[in-house]
């Protein structure tokens, strides 16, 4: 019979928890999110000695207080889901601080195994750890491991099974001694809790007592829901006042102090330093990478290299996917008869989803680079270097990566906000990121500025980018002062030692994030593509103002006579001329169809709103299609201005048509509108996914459109007043 176990993996950030997880589960893992939040949840399974062991990876945390989402998730999982045991991954080279979390886990009175990870690094630093003695002092089995090399994993699994079967000899419940005064108060509160709920485990009641003295909001809330809450909370208040009077400090400080005291005592016996030298190789690398003079140039080089890799190297597979999508559309189109279903599949689904699928190489390369930055420890240094600049914008040092990535594509940029720990920073960065002008918007600027500003086009486009950056800073400041007031997360950033990443680890990292993009985004993009397809293809029958069919036939007939009379090359030339004329008629028909489709009607419907900005209904339709992807705006213009769908941003005839119907002032206002409003449906989808909230998503879309309208209005009306129209 198969026996099953559920274990949770806890540990500090940078403790190598991920490598242990990968080794335990062999890379077979499910990545998802914890319910309701965007903190990644990973699960996998291991087998050992007839056991199937489900491994749940908890978020990396320094502590189990109620101050961050990650900590609450980790804690609630342990308390509420009651895994059979918890493995705490401890960085051996940073033992003292890592044991702080361990001491909190001990307080919980649960079954534990400690993985003493990176023992090789500790050894090379001359730290000799008597892990057997430490295990006795902590009452928890300790297994030395080296996650990156897969060492100690078998022993870890054995210890897990032993502890789960209650066969581990060192396991015992120890109480961290908080000192006479604190212990008295903990016992009093514990007693009150137990008398209110006699069914509760005494370790858990003790833990609650400690947490209450630490002024833990979540536990206070929990108590407030129970019977006899007044007795418990009254007891707590008296104890807190009493302790403050006697010991002259808050209980929470005293408790943290005592925990470190306990750790210090345990390490005094078990940790010895063979070398006094504290300059390690990592520090030497760091003196170069965060050097006063070299730090910035090196950082800029790395970012530049990441950009180049993402968008240049990525352009090759991008072209293959694009070609592949084209072939698929052709192949599927060839299999199916003309009709609505074919149009839906080919024009709606394949080209819509294909349009986003081409970004996959970019996204995977980007995530590979980010994983590399994180796995080596450079990400923390980038934040260290950039923090001063980003902080003046109201952001965290790490926000720099998503902001710079936005110039390429906002979708991976918003996904890159995952490097930020605080939700406030994450949402703020997501909200202003769309103002960083992505590469998808560039063709529109090239088309319009090229048509209307001639030789000054380059400067005009540059000014748009600058306005985007300025608006991002400005909106960041406004949001910081209004929506996120008083929620500032302290910048206590650990700078972990540089480490050599493993290729496998980095690839797994990349895959975890990239696969989320594929799975979750697919659905929304599919729906978005179908909606736009439907809007632009219905109603099916349009009352055309002209008889296009007849005109085409007429052209056919006219040329048939002439071509028969001509010979060889002349006939070929005439045939070409005929096809061109037919194509022109087709474009006219397509244009009228677009105008009379639901999308065209919508464009006309919103025209009054856009009139104060100087935009006509064609611009309105173009902006509507731009919700799907900015790249489409140019092809929409192509159709509406009768230049044909294949007209690119360099097309002369399209430029001529635009310069006839837009003044430079309107063109500029239009470009600003394109800059500020929602980049594309994929961005909306990714904001929804990463913020975990429809509210923030709606806000992002809403404020983008409002900002776009206001800016375009100011430019157009201001320009008119100044006589620039």
């Amino acid at each position: 019979m198969v026996k099953t176990l559920t274990i949770a993996l806890a540990g500090n950030p940078n403790s190598g928890k991920t490598t242990i997880f990968n080794n335990l589960t062999g890379g077979h893992q499910k990545v998802g999110n914890w319910p309701g939040v965007t903190v990644e949840k990973k699960e996998g399974t291991a087998t050992h000695n007839g056991y199937t062991i489900r491994v749940v990876d908890l978020p990396g945390t320094y502590s189990l207080t109620a101050y961050s989402q990650e900590e609450i998730i980790a804690r609630n999982y342990i308390i509420e889901e009651k895994p059979d045991l918890v493995v705490d991954v401890i960085d051996a080279s940073n033992l003292e601080r890592n044991l702080y979390l361990a001491s909190q886990l001990i307080d919980l009175g649960i079954k534990l195994v400690f993985a003493l990870n990176m023992v090789d690094l500790a050894q090379s630093r001359g730290q000799i750890i008597d892990h057997k003695q430490l295990a006795v002092l902590m009452g928890v089995p300790i297994i030395p491991t080296v996650g990156t090399k897969g060492k100690g994993i078998k022993e870890l699994l054995e210890a897990i099974v032993r502890v789960a079967e209650d066969k581990a000899s060192v396991t015992r419940h120890i109480h961290i001694d908080y000192g006479r005064e604190l212990e008295e108060k903990i016992a009093e509160i514990q007693g009150t809790i137990l008398s209110a709920r006699s069914s509760m485990d005494e370790h858990h009641a003790r833990w609650m007592g400690i947490k209450l003295l630490e002024n833990d909001e979540e536990v206070i809330k929990e108590i407030a829901k129970r019977p006899r809450k007044k007795a418990v909370l009254g007891q707590l208040q008296r104890s807190t006042i009493h302790l403050q009077k006697i010991l002259g400090d808050d209980p929470e400080t005293l408790i943290a102090d005592r925990r470190y005291g306990f750790i210090h005592g345990a390490l005094k016996e078990t940790l010895h330093h063979a070398k006094k030298d504290r300059r390690y190789l990592s520090d030497q690398v760091d003196t170069v990478l965060t050097n006063r003079l070299l730090g910035f140039p090196i950082f800029i080089f790395f970012i530049w290299a990441m950009f180049q890799l993402t968008f240049n190297l990525g352009s090759y597979p991008m072209a293959w996917i694009d070609a592949g999508v084209g072939l698929l559309a052709e192949f599927v189109g060839g299999l199916m008869g003309e009709g609505l279903l074919k149009s839906l599949i080919v024009d709606g689904i394949i080209s819509g989803v294909g349009g986003v699928a081409v970004f996959l190489p970019n996204i995977f390369i980007l995530f590979f680079c980010i994983a590399l930055f994180e796995d080596t420890g450079y990400m923390a240094r980038a934040a260290f270097i950039m923090d001063k600049i980003m902080h003046t914008l109201g952001l965290h040092g790490k926000s720099f990566i998503p902001m710079i990535m936005g110039f390429g594509c906002n979708v991976p940029a918003i996904m890159a906000t995952r490097v930020l720990e605080s939700r406030r920073d994450r949402i703020l960065t997501m909200l202003i990121n769309p103002l960083i002008s992505c590469s998808g918007r560039l063709p529109i600027y090239v088309l319009i500025a090229g048509a209307l500003f001639g030789a000054r086009a380059g400067n005009v486009i540059f000014s748009i980018y600058l306005i985007g950056i300025t608006m991002a800073i400005l909106m960041g400041q406004i949001f910081k002062r209004t929506l996120f007031k008083g929620e500032i997360a302290p910048f206590v950033l650990e700078l972990p030692p540089y480490r050599m990443p493993t290729f496998r680890g980095t690839v797994i990292h990349m895959w975890e994030r990239g696969s989320i993009f594929i799975k979750k985004m697919g659905g929304i993009i599919l729906i978005g593509s179908i909606v736009v397809w439907a809007l632009s293809s219905f109603p099916q029958t349009v009352d055309y103002s002209r008889d296009y069919e007849g005109e085409t036939q007429l052209i056919q007939k006219e040329y048939a006579v002439v071509i028969q009379g001509a010979e060889g090359e002349q006939a070929a030339a005439l045939a070409e001329e005929r096809d061109q004329k037919i194509a022109e008629v087709e474009i006219l028909k397509e244009r009228e169809f677009q105008e009379k489709s639901l999308l065209g009607r919508l464009g006309k419907g919103i025209a009054p709103v856009l009139r104060p900005l100087g935009f006509d209904w064609k611009a309105g339709v173009a902006l509507l299609t731009g919700f799907v992807a900015k790249e489409i705006v140019v092809s929409t213009f192509g159709v509406l201005y009768q230049a044909g769908e294949e007209a690119g941003e360099e097309s002369e005839s399209l430029r001529a048509a635009i310069s006839k119907s837009m003044t430079p002032l309107v063109g500029y206002a239009f470009m600003i509108f394109v800059l500020a409003y929602t980049p594309c449906v994929a961005t909306v989808a990714v904001i929804r996914r990463e913020s975990g909230s429809w509210g923030w998503t709606a806000f992002s879309v809403g404020y983008g459109i409002a900002l776009a309208w206001i800016l375009a209005f100011l430019i157009y009306q201001g320009g008119m007043l100044l006589g620039l129209g």
């Binding site: 502590s63 003292e96 929470e252 102090d257 470190y260 730090g295 600049i389 302290p490 206590v492």
Partner: protein
């Protein structure tokens, strides 16, 4: 000796943490990261733009902004003690 603010120390200086001013989340976070009274702290370096500052504490590296380091009070350690 008078207590200094942590951001008043210079690169290479050593100090012993006396206490952390303020309350709430920030203080708790610092405490659990090892900023407890009696702990030794060394100023490793300043960022290229002078903010934040990198410290070595309990054998690991951590950085704080000026505005946060200001709330940590330390007692400087004498030169001769520094040598051993």
């Amino acid at each position: 000796m008078d207590a200094l603010k942590l951001n008043e120390m210079r690169t290479g200086d050593r100090g012993i943490i006396e206490r952390i001013t303020g309350t709430g989340r920030f203080r708790q976070r610092l405490m659990e990261m090892g900023f407890v009274p009696g702990a030794e702290i060394i100023v490793e370096k300043y960022a290229p733009l002078k903010d934040p500052i990198e410290y070595v504490l309990k054998g690991y590296h951590v950085s704080l902004r000026h505005e946060e380091a200001e709330r940590v009070l330390v007692r400087g350690v004498e030169e001769e003690e520094k040598e051993d």
